[in-house]
């Protein structure tokens, strides 16, 4: 009896797995992106409704009343703090960089882009990918590759678009790579998402050391991101004399677990990755 049940469920698993594997491989083809987007778009209104209901209901729960108020105050203060830190980093960056060079690089333009506000309606169901879903899609002019930021700094890039929703691959996603530079020491490198904290690989320059607390901003190299968006702050710098690249740990500027509203930069055309 036990053995028969075992072989029945093994057969069911094998046939199911084969069918699902075909579905995975088929729906990841670029040609299937359209139908996949429409199917996912059909679920977006339900996600918007659930997200709205939770926001409404979350505040009303008596048990969580005080905790919720304190948490929202805390979030507001944290957001204010992050915005002030970003402002400071941008002002310091502006002071450090040569004004003519900034004009030449259209550095100022990076802060004068056209922005489209979007609400966060969902997050990745697993902790391995750290993407978010926003309530703006193709109908609002969102395209794959568009850069997404928040008041605190860079959030990520649009990786999938449906009619009324889009998926944003965040900085902390394992697949994320962002060309950046340290604001005071001026070292360039790549910020790598590792699912939680950020790591940065820096090209060393003799005698140059990165101090903890130093801000990291997008360098604009590769034209995937505009120059000058705040990525995070250095928490630890690893100096190894024999290394061809230096390493640093970063704290992201954006709290990805708490972000509820983002801004999509609609007039920056990123280069193809």
């Amino acid at each position: 009896m036990n053995r028969r049940a075992q072989s029945r469920s093994s057969g069911l698993l094998l046939s199911t797995a084969a069918a699902l594997l075909v579905l995975v491989l088929f729906t990841q083809l670029p040609a299937a992106a359209g139908p996949r987007g429409y199917l996912k778009g059909a679920m977006a209104p339900l996600a918007v409704a659930t997200s709205g209901f939770l926001s409404w209901g979350g505040g009303g729960l008596a048990v969580l009343g005080d905790a919720s108020r304190l948490r929202s105050d805390n979030q507001r203060l944290a957001a204010d703090n992050a915005a002030l830190r970003r402002h400071l980093a941008e002002l310091q960056a502006a002071g450090v960089e040569n004004a003519d060079l900034r004009r030449a690089l259209a550095f100022q333009k990076s802060f004068g882009h056209r922005l489209l506000a979007a609400g966060v309606i969902g997050r990745a169901p697993d902790g391995l990918t750290r993407s978010i879903t926003i309530d703006r899609g193709r109908a609002d002019g969102i395209r794959i590759g568009m850069v997404v930021a928040s008041g605190a700094g860079l959030v990520g890039r649009v990786s999938e678009v449906a009619e009324h929703s889009a998926t944003v691959e965040t900085l902390v996603d394992a697949a994320s790579r962002v060309n950046s530079y340290t604001q005071q020491s001026g070292l360039e490198g790549t910020v790598i998402g590792e699912g939680g904290p950020l790591a940065m690989e820096l090209l060393p320059r003799p005698g140059v050391v990165v101090a903890p607390g130093e801000s990291v901003l997008t360098s604009g190299i590769g034209r995937l991101f505009p120059r000058g968006l705040v990525v995070g702050q250095v928490t630890r710098f690893y100096r190894r004399d024999s290394a061809t690249v230096e390493q640093a740990d970063l704290a992201p500027a954006v709290d990805f677990a708490a972000v509820s509203m983002v801004l999509v930069i609609t007039d920056f055309t990123p280069a193809a990755p």
Binding site: S9, L13, R36, P125, G127, G196
Partner: protein, 167 residues
């Protein structure tokens, strides 16, 4: 339980998974509601029923998750099979078996996800993911699953499957 009731429960769980569950983060992990339902249903009704719930719940989860369709369904089906194997192999204990099954299902689900991401060209750093995400979420799911099994048993009794009339 009727298919309609099962479908509605799984739909609600998939929606809550992407909206509510990430807010319940503890020690870097948050629960997987669809996985808990699939593993719980496997303990109530066996691997066959669990795999069917895994496909339905997984496809719903795929519709609200980034990436191609079928990824979560495949990972959940493997988790249901592993749970069913554990259930058949060991004596039924009302707390220990669900807790161990919940942890095992979480580990299998995440390992299959990591393998699929690798196959699709989006590799995940294996050891950091195991340490920072898989281990704490296995503990989280293990702590929650006994309650889920209890609720599913009650729901199964309250919403019996319609009897098919055969001629």
């Amino acid at each position: 339980m009727s298919r309609l009731a099962a479908g509605l429960i799984l739909l609600l769980a998939a929606l809550l998974q992407v909206t509510l569950a990430p807010r319940l983060e503890l020690a870097g992990a948050f629960p997987n509601l669809v996985l808990l339902l699939v593993a719980g249903w496997t303990l109530v009704r066996g691997a066959g029923g669990g795999i069917r719930w895994a496909v339905a719940g997984g496809l719903l989860l795929d519709l609200v998750a980034p990436g191609p369709l079928g990824v979560h369904a495949l990972a959940l089906a493997a988790a249901a099979y592993a749970t069913g194997f554990l259930q058949r192999s060991f004596e039924v204990d009302p707390v220990l078996l669900p807790a161990v099954s919940g942890a095992l299902a979480t580990v299998v689900y995440n390992l299959v996800l990591i393998a699929i991401f690798q196959l699709l060209g989006n590799p995940v750093a294996f050891l950091p993911a195991l340490q920072a995400w898989v281990a704490p979420s296995a503990l989280y799911d293990a702590a929650l699953i006994p309650v889920v099994v209890l609720l599913l048993r009650r729901l199964d009794r309250a919403l019996p499957e319609p009897v098919a009339i055969e001629w």
